[in-house]
């Protein structure tokens, strides 16, 4: 049963196999995994046994518990994701999309404020995801910046002090723009400081920031949705290996 449960990982790697569809495999994985607990308890006579069998028992309990946790979050979080993230994108592409949002914001601000000087120092050390993003080609060619419009100073200042760092940060913390209510208030205040012809640019920047925040929400929900796999999959591998050792030694003795 445990070996069959482990085969789900293999099945996922070879989706073209004509051995039942993925949902059937998942159902079998879930039910056999759940059934393995009472079966193992009967197998062990409701005792933990020796060193190896104790380790096996605890591994099984943790693997099944993490699987049950995963099953539970899979029931609720996808709906939550749909409700909270209107602009959901592919998880692996989130850094790339964020980079495009930053470019888009820069284009918006340069179209009304003229060319901007590059930031003096990086906001945060680049993460592996950023490094991966850096290796990719730029998302779209940059438009030529226009001359600064009258009254664009507050907008430019707002961009340089808040928006640029907000969009460049790989992970949002408790920055003002990372709090929806606070972000809304800040943009409302900004609109009072700029002339009417710049309101459209401010609105676009607010949309970009909102989308950035939504992507951060997607990342957080994705981690809840799939983070348990960091416990489930490695311990399953250890469980399978030790189960094979246990079976071999049972035959030996």
């Amino acid at each position: 049963m445990i070996l069959f449960c482990g085969l789900l990982g293999v099945r996922k790697r070879v989706p073209t196999w004509r051995l039942g569809n993925a949902s059937s495999w998942m159902r079998a994985h879930i039910w056999l995994g759940l059934m393995s607990v009472p079966m193992i308890l009967f197998h062990g006579g409701f005792a933990m046994g020796g060193t190896l069998t104790q380790v096996l028992m605890w591994l099984l309990f943790i693997v099944v518990a993490s699987g049950v946790h995963g099953l539970a979050v899979q029931q609720f979080f996808p709906r939550l994701l749909t409700n909270q993230v209107e602009t959901e994108t592919i998880y692996e592409q989130i850094p790339h999309v964020i980079e495009q949002l930053a470019d888009e914001a820069l284009q918006v601000i340069e179209s009304v404020c003229g060319p901007l000087a590059p930031p003096s120092e990086p906001v945060a050390p680049p993460s592996p995801e950023d490094a991966a993003a850096a290796s990719r080609p730029p998302a779209r060619p940059k438009a030529k910046p226009a001359a600064p419009k009258e009254g664009s100073g507050p907008l430019r200042e707002f961009y340089e002090k808040r928006i640029r760092d907000f969009l460049a940060a790989p992970r949002l913390s408790t920055e003002d723009l990372a709090v929806p209510a606070r972000s809304k208030a800040l943009f409302a205040h900004l609109r009072k400081l700029i002339p009417p012809e710049l309101q459209d640019a401010a609105g676009r920047l607010e949309e970009i920031c909102t989308e950035r925040y939504a992507l951060e929400t997607q990342v957080r929900l994705h981690h809840w949705l799939h983070g348990w796999l960091f416990v489930h999959a490695p311990l399953s591998a250890a469980l399978i290996l030790l189960t094979v050792v246990h079976a071999l030694m049972s035959f030996k003795y």
Binding site: G49, E92, A132, R204
Partner: protein
Amino acid sequence: MARDRSTKALAARIELDYYKRPHPWRTAMQRFTVGAAVLAGAWVLISMRLQGDHIFTSGPVATRHRMFGADCFQCHEAWKGVPDDKCLKCHDAPAHHGNQTMTPSCASCHVEHKGQLQLARMTDQHCTRCHSQLQTTGEPTRFARSIQSFERGHPEFAAVRPGARDKTVLRYNHQKHMKRGLQGKSGPVNLECAGCHAPDPAGRYMQAVTFEQHCKDCHPLQLGLTLPGGVAPHAPTDVVRLAVRAQLETLAREHPERMQAEPKEEGGRRRRRGASESQPPTPVNTAQWLSSQAESIEKALVGKTCKLCHDFAAPTASAADSLPQVIAPAMPARWMKSSVYSHRAHRTLTCAVCHASAAASAETSQVLLPSAVTCLICHSPSGGSRHECTECHLHHDKSREREIDGPMEINPVMIRPRAAR
């Protein structure tokens, strides 16, 4: 100018070949998975290095087997499990029955590595596997063929089934002996069960009641007026005869005046004692006197004293001169030989709880053992006491176990089989 949020614009933001590049999330997952398997394998190898194969044990062994330490192969054989030979090195396990159809391996019943438990204490399933539908080879069995448990299918004890009787050739009346105020050696006595019935040192079974210990005080084998104070031994009649003759000879030697025949009155009748001492006693032949006195005493013993309890075998023509032989009582030392019992374990109960009919029993032929129904009062699921088959029955015939001088010896490290002698 509003942002372009069309599906086409959003899709254009995605790289088409993104899945070809390693993603940190997936890479980390793969590394964790491989790492966990490697760690698990390394743990096994290191543990084997430090503890040997001990980590593979499925649990602690029973206390009796702890002396083997971590030497698994005292009991196990590689790739062959636990062969019976390994167990039989130390344990005698005679076959359950000669006509059994199936002989399970030792380890299939006595499951080790379950910690401190009695390996001999089997669940009923081990017994009912055969005894619920008993099949035998060879001669038909005398045992019940369908027993599910003590309360389901167990037959009445053979000793107390209808028609069963005590075949002991001995006259004994429990009812008379349990009366209050019996005349004892030194006054009235009230006999209790424990006055005659005492358990063996292990407290299991009642020891045999013996004449010397339990009967002699009230029922001495007196030899009559000729030998006042003389007592016959509780022995076969031949021995009794010799003892009587020896006592008479001693009397004749030490008190010859007693050997003189008592004077007889006219008409051949014996003179009354004290009637007249003027006529001197008539001297008699010693041999004749001894013979006549012995015959008289033996007649009284056999005809009255011994017969109080014993029966005699019919005299044979070849032994016309010898005394009749007492039929050996042949009282069984144990009644239910297929089971074990401990009186000590039941010592909180009065004897009458189980042996209720004893006080009213007037015939030796009455079996005074309890019925299985009496045992079931306590030894059943509702009674609360243990009621497994092994409470009373042993699978292996313990009487065939070796006594001493087993096959093992102790070396400085652990117990090992000793070298062949």
